[in-house]
Symmetry: C2
Subunit: 404 residues, 2 copies
């Protein structure tokens, strides 16, 4: 498997693009994106578990119930959630995209992201969709990515190439997400494409499995959004024998898909609202995977630890504390904790108790942009990783006045 | 029932005090507190559910296993948690207090609060305990309160007087807690005294019940501390017929104890680290109390909502979002949301969808020091309140470099 460029248009058969349509006042910020496949694709998606769901989720769920879709339309600046006319507007977006792209509206995946509870103005989308449809290209991944961003500060894209049945297969994607990020079964917005030939049922199985250990292990602020969604379109253009069941080809595909999901998930975590650092909590030696995941996620979610990481303060007691309240059955007297980064590694806790360490070294390790929090439970061989970011002044600033 | 002064020494039979012993470098900050009853008291306590527990908790639990205690010793500046010699030091604190107060060390409730994982220096306590023991008085509640404070900015005290069986009975207490606050079954530190005559078993029952709807409904940052504890000592000096079973006297006592616990809990929430506002989420119309509590606590814990409240931004979509991911079975299309304060009330969401409201009025309402977030679920008659605070720059500042 090798990493390639091209994002959501890296796979054969896809074009994409983004533009400013006018939902946002700021004309320099694209707020509309489209992705189009040259044929109907196997389609799969995972969604937020929040009981309050964005209207686009209901419409997308209906549209891909048959296992197929051909395009994506997504706006930023307005979540189209908690609006009386939400589903009607979301369906209207599919009709607009279908007309502009000359495909059936039932084959459109629709998504919205932004403020909750403000009526979505449909006119800007109506006016701009035909314009955008005319400029979609296999070089349009970055513009599509910009079109779906809200408080994101960087584009999040990843693509890989690998082989199945002697054929080169590609998977690529784009993602957005910066605040209200604590996915559960699904996540922020992620749009992934592949040219693999794969049946809808197996594609869904692979996506659900990949999301479990990647997007679902991200938390920026503990708030599970109403509009989280990750979708995959598979065009089949690679010409591999169709993956229609478990086996070696499925495993190869799943590995590549998981790589793309993990890469996008880490990019989302590192660009969390106000974040200055990516935090990765690696739990090893757990009795089982569920325990490892619970512990890793509890650590990554601790506001106190997140603030300490912002201050490059090796306050490992907060790691122990978060392990202790995680709900996982852990022998807290067996736990080792270390911090690591490109600048080195510092062991701070052995068998549940502090050990002497150099504060100077710790400061150096924690001043890097990517920090590993290493937790060894000494009670088994299962492991998990969770992804988060530090808690900063800017998180408060961004969210103290998001709407205005 | 009437509110009185005197805090933890309001009830007959109690003296208290606090002083600087030297665990903290800052000599103007008291870091040691003691409370003494003139006789052995019925004693009850509730503790953190964190698997990582402060050493003092193990010792206190052992000491009051027989239902009785006579004194409290508590230091701030060091949590005596995750230390190899923790329990030994906690027990040593009981011996020191016992010797200074001329009581059995087994009758001492011991507590510590501060940084986790640093060895507790016992010498300052050894040296100062006899000095402190000599100055305990029935006017010493405020000094004891200061002795247990960490990042708290104000003292938290409450006392009430009421009647049982023709006798005047008093309950009073002090509390501390500002960060790492998300109690579960117990809370930050709260020390309550009463002169009621009440059996240990019934006292424990009353405390457990009172804590459930008060301290356990507080969250500052979602982090359940390792050292949370609330204890009650009942001296019996009021001379009422001993409360030894359920009934009218028990109900009267429970009501007063719950009042004191709620008052202290709200004071803890309002003084959350960096907080500028007390937030109270009142959920009504719930199918049952568990549902009401889950929803109220989810709303009060949302980092996004907390930041919005700091910015006086009526971003009610974040309330809906937090209700939706709470895990409680709620009909999200029936939910009404309003914000209220001394400056008035503004309805923002009816039946799960936004309604037009004056941003100017909303700003005025949300600029007060105490904000009510009113959630009506329209699915029953149960209700609950949860207590929290806004998320501010100062929370990040305080926790970005707490240890130094």
């Amino acid at each position: 498997m090798k990493i390639i460029s091209g994002g959501v248009t890296a796979a054969q058969g896809f074009v994409a693009g983004g533009m400013h349509c006018g939902i946002r006042a700021n004309k320099t910020k694209p707020d509309l994106a489209m992705i189009l496949a040259k044929n109907r694709c196997s389609a799969a998606a995972v969604y937020t578990t929040n009981l309050v769901k964005g209207a686009p989720i209901a419409v997308t769920r209906r549209n891909i119930a048959d296992g197929y879709a051909q395009a994506v339309i997504c706006n930023s600046g307005n979540a189209n959630t908690c609006n009386a006319d939400g589903e009607q507007k979301a369906w209207r977006m599919c009709e607009i995209a279908g007309a502009a792209l000359k495909i059936a509206p039932e084959d459109v995946i629709v998504a919205s992201t932004g403020v909750i509870g403000q009526v979505l103005p449909i006119e800007p989308i109506e006016t701009s969709a035909p314009v955008l449809a005319a400029v979609l290209s296999d070089d349009g991944s970055a513009m599509a990515n910009r079109g779906i961003m809200t408080t994101d500060t960087v584009e999040k894209t990843c693509a890989v190439s690998f082989e199945i049945g002697g054929k080169e297969v590609k998977i690529g994607g784009i993602a957005k997400g910066s605040g209200m990020i604590h996915p559960n079964m699904a996540t922020m917005l992620g749009f992934i494409t592949t040219d693999a030939a794969i049946s809808p049922a197996v594609l869904q199985k692979a996506l659900s499995a990949a999301v479990q250990t990647t997007f679902n292990m991200v938390s920026v602020d503990g708030d599970t959004s109403t509009n989280d969604m990750v979708s995959v379109l598979a065009s089949g253009c690679a010409g591999n024998p169709e993956i229609a069941e478990s086996g070696k080809s499925y495993e190869t595909f799943l590995e590549a898909l998981t790589f793309v999901c993990r890469d996008l998930a880490k990019k989302v975590a590192g660009d969390g609202e106000g974040a200055t650092k990516l935090l990765v909590c690696s739990v090893t030696g757990a009795a089982d995977e569920a325990c490892a995941r619970t512990v890793a996620k509890s650590v990554i979610c601790s506001s106190l630890l997140k603030a300490a990481m912002f201050g490059a303060d090796a306050n490992w007691g907060r790691v122990l504390c978060a392990i202790g309240y995680s709900g996982a059955p852990v022998d807290v007297n067996a736990v080792d904790v270390s911090f690591a980064s490109e600048a080195g590694r510092v062991d701070v806790c052995v068998a549940g108790a502090g050990i002497p360490f150099s504060e100077e070294t710790a400061k150096k390790v924690l001043s890097e942009k990517a920090i590993d929090i290493l937790v060894e439970l000494h009670s088994g061989s299962a492991s998990a990783e969770a992804y988060g970011c530090d808690l900063t002044y800017d998180y408060v600033k961004i969210n103290g006045d998001y709407r205005t």
